[in-house]
């Protein structure tokens, strides 16, 4: 796979989020914890919205969580996705706390349920970029 073959939207990478996407390229899902007040936050920012500290600690997520809600989308003009209908969008509650938007992949849409255990799986765009998505995990 190379970036020009990848049709879906790519994240716009900037100075505030580059480290997050570099971790994804290593197949690691990493969250931020504020070095000032300790708040765990998603999505990544340079400053903590709670205390405005720019001191940051990085916390590796287990990549495990549960589906908070989802939808099976049958109509979409989103590049790449329109060729793969239907697809599943979901909010996943990570074990560490944050609720993140993603896709559920490698799982038949009709089997996706709220509360289902999922784990992160990285889709490589190329060697410098991977997109974290989720698939059904064995029940714990």
């Amino acid at each position: 796979m190379s970036r020009k073959d990848y049709k879906k939207p790519l994240p716009r990478i900037d100075e505030e989020n580059r480290w997050f996407w570099e971790a994804c390229a290593r197949h690691e899902l990493v969250l931020q914890r504020c070095g000032g007040c300790g708040e765990l936050r998603f999505y990544p920012r340079g400053l903590c919205p709670a205390c405005l500290s720019s001191s940051v600690e990085y916390v590796r997520s287990s990549g495990r969580g549960r589906i908070h809600t989802f939808t099976v989308t049958y109509q979409s003009q989103a590049p790449g996705f329109r060729d793969e209908l239907p697809y599943v969008m979901a909010y996943v509650d990570l074990d560490e706390g944050p609720r993140v938007l993603s896709n559920v992949v490698h799982t038949p849409p009709e089997e996706v349920k709220i509360g289902m255990a999922v784990e992160v799986v990285f889709e490589d765009v190329d060697e410098d970029l991977a997109i974290p998505r989720f698939r059904r995990a064995s029940e714990r």
Partner: protein, 386 residues
């Protein structure tokens, strides 16, 4: 300081078009300005304030140019579809502060003839920081609302049939509105038989995309007394946002939970004083969540609340009497039509769909995308100054 009773909407005009490939948005706005000023009995030369949203970032300047206006108050606040509801409050504050005297609020769009796929087109991202964690997953607008609907069903047992009741009642209203796009009655079965766009939302749970536009004229309560039509006094207003924050968002919370109580407190009214609800209906779930968050029913009970024709113009809780975005018109940002219909109803000018008791109307606009980030603006209008 409160806005209560300080200003009034004195002119309102809904452009009759639903499909206008021969018109530009600016032509629609100019025609709407003419309609609303005529309704108010004011001249274009009286206008010294101008509000609009939805065009380029400095589109309000081009609009002033187009109408050859030199306003002393300009406002292009863009909160998405709720913008024009918020503009009434902004205009009122500006008038109360003496910044201007007569504010024209304008909206025009050719979304349908431009073939804009608002609900399912692209991913709704604008290159803002949170988009980097959303657009890679193909989150359509309808899909984002669908996730809130799915969660509501899971938590509270809400059903597709209950959501369909909203579409059915709204279509009944559209049948009584000659300007509405869709007039043929639909049943709950019709909604459930329409194709699923993004589960659990069916096609008939979704608003249309039309062309259209409209205009409002706002002035001081003192000046309103001498104008052509009965004033719709601004009694209360509030705006707010709900977003994903740092990742602990409640997908069933909408901005109405903040703005409803604030606007009602300003107006000095309770839920039972509201005769008409004009609720942004991008999707059936938007209406259900907004009614709950405004406090018309407890959280989780919206499904039962909307059944049995309760929202009908001749029912106990008249809502979206013009036929809404589901069945009348939705050129992309519907907020202005909420206020236009409220003004018509308060005046008793709503024809076959006229509500019986017509003292107080509550408008609530939603802009942006529920379950990701959205704005809300509540506006309370009344026949008495309060």
């Amino acid at each position: 300081m409160s806005l209560r009773g300080k200003t009034a909407v004195v002119g309102a005009y809904e452009h009759p078009t639903r499909y206008a490939p021969h018109l530009t948005p600016h032509r629609i706005m100019a025609e709407s300005a003419r309609g609303a000023l005529e309704d108010a009995g004011l001249a274009i030369a009286d206008v010294d304030g101008l509000c609009t949203a939805s065009m380029g970032p400095i589109g309000v300047i081009a609009l002033a140019n187009h109408l050859n206006l030199r306003p002393t108050y300009l406002d292009s606040t863009n909160l998405g579809g709720s913008s024009f509801v918020a503009h009434v409050a902004h205009a009122s504050a500006a008038i109360a502060a003496g910044l201007c005297r007569v504010v024209l609020i304008l909206y025009g769009s050719t979304a349908a003839s431009d073939r804009l796929a608002v609900g399912t087109g692209g991913t709704g991202g604008f290159g803002d920081p949170p988009d980097a964690y959303e657009t890679p997953y193909g989150p359509t607008v309808v899909g984002s609302y669908a996730m809130a609907a799915m969660r509501h069903m899971h938590e509270y047992g809400t059903t597709s049939r209950q959501l369909a009741e909203i579409a059915v009642t709204t279509r009944r209203h559209a049948a009584l509105n000659p300007a509405a796009k869709f007039h043929d009655p639909i049943t709950v079965e019709d909604v459930l038989a329409s194709r699923v766009v993004s589960s659990p939302l069916h096609l008939l749970d979704c608003c249309m995309i039309s062309d259209g536009g409209g205009a409002l004229v706002v002035t001081s309560a003192e000046r309103a007394r001498d104008l052509r039509k009965a004033p719709a006094y601004v009694l209360g207003a509030a705006e707010g946002v709900v977003h994903t924050g740092v990742g602990r968002q409640d997908l069933l919370e909408v901005a109405a939970a903040q703005t409803g109580p604030k606007a009602m407190a300003m107006a000095g009214i309770g839920h039972r004083d509201v005769d008409l609800r004009m609720i942004y209906d991008s999707f059936t779930i938007t209406v259900l969540l907004t009614l709950e968050n405004l406090g018309f029913c407890p959280r989780g009970e919206g499904g039962a609340f909307v059944c049995g024709g309760r929202l009908a113009f001749d029912g106990p809780c008249p809502t979206n009497t013009d036929g809404g975005g589901l069945s009348s018109n939705h050129p992309g940002m519907r907020g202005i039509f909420l206020v236009i219909e409220a003004v018509k109803q308060l005046r008793g000018d709503a024809g076959a769909r006229q509500v019986k008791k017509r003292d107080v109307a509550l408008c609530h606009g939603t802009g942006g995308v529920i379950s990701r980030r959205h704005s809300g603006a509540t506006l309370i209008l009344g026949r008495e100054r309060g």
